[in-house]
């Protein structure tokens, strides 16, 4: 429990080691999570998402530098897709935040998308809690907006910033259904490139169809040159005020607490079932029968369900 003491005092090494513990589900990790839950819930979580190459890391870097001017402690969790072939990964988001690694008020952690026993979203949410207790007032979670677990992560943020680049016409069509809904602030980065205004118009048109109470604005930025950063911060603030004023802030936290509990239940049920020897052999046996067309998969599934004792 030395680490927990350290964490509460704002020790970086302790925070880092605890995140590793959660990521690897080292024995005792649940006790840690139980312990820190009480003191978490203070940080404001900002999700940064968008397609690869949109400049998310650079934008995060600039946003954080701006927020640091208010002397607020900041943490960043940068999630990088893992190589689908080797299981290893190269996490390179940090490279765009190099100056931040000398700022004592900033903590950056990179996470791969593989190798999380309980799923990435569970690990990320736990890491957020740790960084919250560590004392971060703002936590940025940066991730490519693809894949179910990443969308879940982004959904759990208080404010989500969707980063787009000009000339993504078809991509916008493709992602509008899923991701457009979760954006609270829209940014067109690299806005000095051709087609920025068109992309903006397209996004605005789609947002017009949404009937949500909060109308997100579309902001132009050239993150590399630090252009448009203050605008985005103002927009994040506007969203934050809206959340607080309408009590959405509380409401969202209820939703995500509930989701978290459900997730823990689901995960543990799955673990229990598939780690059970009897069920494993029953499953193997029934699978053979399904393949031979002796029984159908529905009957097989319900047969197994019947023999489960929780």
């Amino acid at each position: 429990m030395d680490l927990l003491q350290g964490l509460k005092k704002g020790n970086k090494r302790a925070a880092a080691k605890l995140i590793t513990m959660i990521e690897n589900r080292t024995e005792g990790y649940q006790d840690v999570l139980k312990e820190i839950h009480k003191s978490s819930g203070k940080a404001y979580v900002i999700g940064i998402t968008g397609p690869p190459g949109a400049g998310k890391s650079t934008l995060t870097d600039k946003l954080v530098k701006e927020i640091r001017k208010q002397d607020k402690k900041v943490a960043i969790i940068a999630i990088d897709p893992t190589s689908p072939f080797s299981g290893g990964s190269i996490l390179g988001d940090r490279i765009r935040m190099n100056d931040l690694s000398l700022d004592p008020g900033v903590f950056i952690r990179s996470m791969g998308t593989r190798g999380h026993l309980g799923g990435l979203s569970v690990a990320t949410k736990s890491a957020i809690k740790i960084l919250d207790v560590y004392g971060a007032e703002y936590i940025f979670v940066e991730t490519v907006g693809v894949g179910q677990s990443e969308i879940e992560i982004v959904k759990s943020a208080d404010t989500t910033v969707m980063v787009m680049v000009p000339g993504l016409g078809d991509d916008i069509q493709a992602i509008k259904a899923g991701i457009m809904e979760i954006g609270d602030v829209f940014v067109i980065n690299k806005a000095d490139r051709d087609g920025a205004n068109r992309t903006r118009a397209e996004i605005e048109m789609m947002l017009d169809f949404s009937n949500s109470e909060f109308k997100p604005a579309v902001k132009m930025a050239v993150a590399v040159d630090g252009k448009g950063i203050n605008d985005i911060i103002d927009e994040i603030e506007r969203h934050k005020e809206y959340l607080i004023k309408t009590d959405k802030y509380h409401h969202n936290r209820v939703t995500s607490a509930r989701e978290e509990i459900v997730e823990i239940i689901k995960e543990n049920i799955t673990d229990k079932i598939f780690n059970d020897h009897l069920i494993s052999s029953q499953l193997a046996e029934l699978t053979q029968k399904v393949v031979k067309r002796e029984i159908d998969p529905y009957t097989a599934g319900f047969n197994i369900l019947k023999s489960i004792k929780l």
Binding site: G53, T58, I90, G92, I95, R96, V224, D225, G226
Partner: protein, 558 residues
């Protein structure tokens, strides 16, 4: 190039030959399943007239010294004048480097080539915190005009041609060179030499960038413009494939990416209002020489032909000098092994042959100990002697482009050109070299090739003598040239002295002027020259530019 009926005879005998060899192979298979070039391309067992039947001599080759320059940029090549033997050197202080230059000139070196240390290349004075441990290490430390005066002391700048490996702050070092010459009584229009000034390959492969792409391109075109009027004999850029190759690219990528960079510079200059024939004759190139003799020779020939076509067709150049690709070559540092370093002498000899048979205008030969440390004087001499042996004893300089017409070399030349064209098209599709670099396309292609090469070595599919085969137990050499840390301390002291001794009001005034010009659009060169002459330091000048332009952010591509 051949008569139809004769070709069909050849076709028949080739069929016969294939039958014979395949029978032979059944009994005794060849040493390898696939024979690959240095760049990993499959090489056939035999090349015949059939491989080059489409070549039209006048169109594809032509005479040396005329379009498309495949056979060389001068009509009589080395029969007239040998290439410039230009040894890249520079380390520690200006005093020590000055001694090395004088030694090289005495030994028959015909041009100087200045290596700067990393802080100088990235625009930091020797007392900057990031310069810690780096001062004088990979080249000479230059903080101000004072150091430059010492560096060229006793070397008449109207007699030598000087190449400076400097990129992001190229304008500052060029200004210092002009100022030193002025003090020697040599006017700028008499100066001959080259600045590397190629920022795009810094982003791609070499890493000594400072400013973002746009202001960097402006600085480059400012230099083009300034030199076309004031320093007309100066080569304003050395568009470099060398480092792209060292980073692991193939030969075709070296040509394709380098010429794509070249296209970007030409476009930028035209956009800035310059006329193509005003600046293009002063563009020069810089290529690598690796061990695969024929591939390398074909590479230089392909690059020349392709550039000529690009300048003529794409940019409408009229002046033949705009179309002829002149290049410097350096032997491949990454091909040298730390194991059995004397073997490197042989590698460098092969690479020298490649560069000369490929028609280079100047050449640096690497020293055997470069995989270990900075080269010693003895090693540098051997490297220079290698060039002299090829020049005077090998006989390859007696005639122009002796390998032309070789079925293999011509078909390889065609192939490299075709592959380079594909890369250039892809880069055009992405919006040009700067965008392709931003998107990481070029870096990714190079990295893929580099990783493939590494795997070939580790699986012993590619043999590197002394490294993965034919190893011996050996003692590593001792007594290698090392730059003392006191060099950094001395430079710091000299800076303190300089700042106390100069007219700081004048310095400040020129820096304020420079800032205004950077913020506007006027040519920066005259203002840099003014600042340099007041002994403003390199760090002070680049800091002004950093403030206005910002800094480049690397694209991470692995």
């Amino acid at each position: 190039m051949f008569e139809k009926d004769k070709l069909s005879n050849i076709e028949n005998s080739l069929d016969e030959y294939e039958k014979v060899t395949s029978k032979l192979l059944e009994k005794r298979p060849e040493r390898r399943e696939d024979f690959i070039s240095g760049s990993g391309d499959s090489i056939k067992n035999l090349y015949t007239p059939l491989d080059i039947e489409k070549i039209d001599y006048s169109e594809s080759l032509g005479m040396p010294g005329s379009y498309p320059y495949t056979r060389g940029v001068q009509p009589n090549m080395y029969r007239g004048k040998l290439w410039t033997m230009r040894m890249y050197a520079g380390f520690a202080t200006a005093e020590e480097s000055n001694k090395r230059y004088k030694y090289l000139v005495e030994q028959g070196s015909s041009g100087l080539s200045v290596a700067f240390d990393l802080p100088t290349q990235i625009g930091y004075d020797s007392d900057h915190s990031l310069a810690e441990g780096e001062v004088g290490k990979v080249g000479v430390a230059i903080d101000s005009l004072k150091d430059m005066e010492v560096l060229f002391d006793g070397i008449p700048l109207d007699k030598v041609s000087t190449s400076m490996t400097i990129n992001a702050p190229a304008g500052v070092l060029l200004a210092m060179y002009i100022a030193v010459a002025e003090k020697q009584g040599v006017s700028a229009d008499k100066l001959r030499g080259t600045i590397q000034n190629d920022i795009l390959k810094e982003y791609i492969a070499r890493g000594t960038y400072i400013f973002p792409t746009e202001p960097s391109m402006r600085l480059i075109t400012d230099i083009f413009e300034y030199c076309s009027k004031e320093v007309p004999k100066w080569n304003t850029i050395s568009i470099s494939g060398y480092h792209i190759r060292e980073a692991g690219s193939t030969a075709s990528q070296e040509v394709g990416f380098t010429l794509a960079d070249g296209i970007a510079y030409v476009e930028a200059a035209i956009k800035a209002g310059l006329k193509v024939d005003d600046f293009a004759p002063r563009l020069s190139f810089f290529f690598n020489a690796h061990n695969d003799l024929f591939e390398e020779i074909a590479k230089y020939r392909a690059a020349r032909r392709l550039w000529a076509k690009i300048m003529k067709d794409r940019f409408g150049a009229k002046n033949p000098k705009s179309m002829s690709l002149k290049f410097h070559t350096q032997t491949g540092g990454s091909t040298l092994t730390a194991q059995q370093p004397d073997n490197n002498i042989v590698r460098v000899a092969i690479q020298t042959l490649a560069a000369v048979l490929g028609g280079t205008q100047s050449l640096h030969t690497n020293s055997r100990d470069e995989a270990l440390a900075l080269p010693s004087v003895d090693s540098v001499r051997i490297a220079l002697r290698t060039q002299q042996i090829v020049a005077h004893e090998s006989g390859v300089t007696n005639t122009v482009d002796p390998l032309a017409g070789s079925f293999f070399v011509e078909s390889m030349t065609d192939k490299i050109e075709a592959e380079a064209v594909k890369y250039i098209q892809k880069i055009d599709d992405l919006g040009g070299a700067p965008k392709a670099i931003d998107d990481g396309y070029i870096q990714r292609e190079i990295m893929d090739a580099a990783y493939k090469y590494q795997k070939e070595i580790e699986s012993n599919d590619r043999i590197i003598v002394g490294m993965n085969q034919f190893q011996i137990e050996e003692e590593r050499p001792t007594g290698l040239l090392k730059v003392d840390l006191s060099v950094g301390e001395n430079q710091k002291l000299k800076l303190v002295e300089l700042r106390n001794g100069r007219d700081n009001v004048a310095v400040e005034k020129t820096l304020v002027e420079l800032r205004k010009v950077c913020e506007g659009s006027e040519n920066v060169m005259p203002y840099i020259l003014d600042a340099v002459k007041t002994y403003a330091t390199l760090g002070e000048i680049t800091q002004v530019m950093r403030d206005v332009f910002g800094e480049y952010q690397q694209s991470v591509i692995i």
